[in-house]
């Protein structure tokens, strides 16, 4: 079996010719090293099944957890982040939907509040109007302002051409209205009916330049004619320069024009200067004629004597 005369030489790379054709070149070249790695790895695996750590946890489980734990954590964190993002998006979407619904509800509620406020205001105005109506000796009928008109043609240079000088009310001849009936509010005189239509009437305001109201200064008892002025004010005409007129003095109707009952507030003096013969007196109307909604039409003013007999206050105390 042994031949002492035969001396073999080292094989350059033992087993090289035994490897498979599909083996990668690096493994083919270092086959023995990779064999060692495989043997060591297999035995480490066997060892990991036997060795335990931390209360008899097999080492292979310990390693597996140590290897996979970071990935599981990363994946878990990613899933949690994705879930959180999705939840956040969902909540945002719901919040947006809810926001839109709430906006609609808010607009509806605001409109309702405004409507209720309007109704409350209207109710208050009507109550005031009714109280005023019951307190007066003359007969009146309530009417609603349905339109207004501006007298741009008669506006003087520099005058506010947008000043309302006439309004339309919703009562006409069918309600017993006729021309030259006084139109008032609890605050004071508004004007008189200029034209009557079947279901409406046109009212000429006291601020119109063609309007004229017989008035009396409440303190000095000086009488004059109130005419429409500029910029929504009125002018008190025919008061002599020697008369004393104080600023802020109240102006009331005199009842001499046979249109307006005596003693109704007309306005207050805002300026009074001497002119050539008569004073130049500017009156601020007692009624805000640009904000009229409800008015009273005096159906038949009582005679002045009757008013005096009824003790209608014609001079403020």
């Amino acid at each position: 079996m042994f031949d002492p005369n035969v001396v073999d030489f080292i094989r350059p790379v033992p087993g090289l010719e035994r490897e498979g054709p599909n083996m990668p070149a690096i493994i083919r070249r270092h086959r023995s090293f990779f064999t060692l790695l495989a043997v060591v790895a297999a035995q480490v695996l066997v060892l990991s099944l036997q060795i335990t750590r931390n209360n008899h946890v097999p080492l292979i489980r310990y390693w597996a957890v140590a290897i996979f734990d970071p990935f599981e954590r990363a994946l878990g964190g990613l899933m949690e982040a994705s879930s959180h993002s999705y939840q956040t998006y969902r909540h945002l979407w719901h919040a947006e939907q809810e926001n839109q619904e709430l906006r609609v509800q808010l607009v509806t509620a605001q409109a309702q509040i405004q409507r209720l406020g309007e109704q409350a205001g209207e109710s208050q105005r009507l109550r005031t109007l009714l109280n005023f109506k019951t307190q007066q000796a003359f007969q009146t009928t309530a009417a609603e302002v349905i339109a207004s008109s501006e007298d741009a043609l008669h506006a003087a240079p520099g005058e506010n051409s947008n000043a309302i000088t006439a309004i339309f009310i919703d009562k006409g001849s069918d309600s017993g209205l006729s021309n030259d009936l006084a139109v008032i509010t609890p605050e004071g005189v508004v004007g008189k009916i200029l034209a009557v239509f079947p279901h409406s009437s046109q009212v000429l305001l006291i601020t119109d330049s063609s309007s004229g109201v017989g008035v009396t200064l409440a303190q000095s008892r000086v009488q004059g004619i109130l005419k429409g002025g500029t910029n929504g004010s009125c002018d008190l005409k025919y008061v002599m320069n020697e008369e004393t007129v104080g600023r802020g003095e109240a102006v009331v109707t005199s009842g001499l024009d046979q249109i307006y009952p005596k003693g109704l507030p007309v306005g207050t003096v805002i300026s009074a200067t001497d002119g050539m013969i008569y004073k130049n007196i500017t009156i601020k109307p007692a009624v805000d004629l640009n904000r009229l909604e409800m008015v009273l039409v005096v159906l038949k003013p009582p005679p002045v004597a009757e008013q005096q007999a009824l003790n209608i206050p014609s001079r403020p105390q």
Binding site: M1, P4, D8, I10, P14, V39, Q43, V44, N54
Partner: protein, 170 residues
């Protein structure tokens, strides 16, 4: 002394029965001698057999296989974990076979140095493995390492002389 050479290195053959007999005797002595001799627990017959047969066969795969088998048998007969000696002796078998293909290691000084180096390497490798895998690895004892080195080098030189009698050039 080992020398790097480009000359052909001779390969030897040994009777097929020698390896099983040597392994059997080595394992028996490894198990029985510590009962009689206090220093016998330092001896590592499977390691010396692995070094010797890897050295004369000059085949890395053979060295790996032999080291693995002897290590696993040693682990199986001990009360330790199976695989620790298998790993260390597989590495030793691979490295000894690698060295034997590059260097002339037939002389007595070369064999002495080779055995000493790999006994220490085996001990360090075993310790490193225990530290890497075990929760409470045994402490390193330098005196035991030095004693094991001396005992195994001396035992190896004797064992190699005995086994050399059964080899023939291939």
């Amino acid at each position: 002394m080992p020398t790097s050479t480009h000359r052909p290195i001779p390969v030897f053959q040994i009777h097929p029965a020698v390896l099983p007999v040597a392994v059997l005797l080595g394992m028996l002595l490894q198990a029985l001698l510590p009962l009689k001799l206090p220093l016998a627990h330092l001896m590592d017959f499977p390691l010396l057999i692995t070094i010797y047969f890897a050295l004369i066969r000059r085949d890395k795969i053979y060295g790996i296989a032999l080291g693995t088998v002897l290590g696993l048998i040693q682990d199986a007969l001990s009360h330790g974990f199976i695989g620790i000696d298998g790993i260390t002796k597989a590495i030793v078998g691979y490295l000894v076979a690698s060295a034997s293909t590059r260097f002339e290691l037939e002389s007595l000084p070369a064999r002495t140095l080779l055995t000493g180096v790999f006994v220490v390497f085996h001990t360090l490798c075993l310790t490193a493995l225990q530290h890497a895998l075990l929760e409470a690895p045994p402490p390193i004892q330098p005196i035991a390492v030095a004693s094991g080195l001396l005992v195994n080098v001396a035992l190896g030189l004797i064992l190699y002389q005995i086994l050399d009698r059964f080899r023939r050039p291939a």
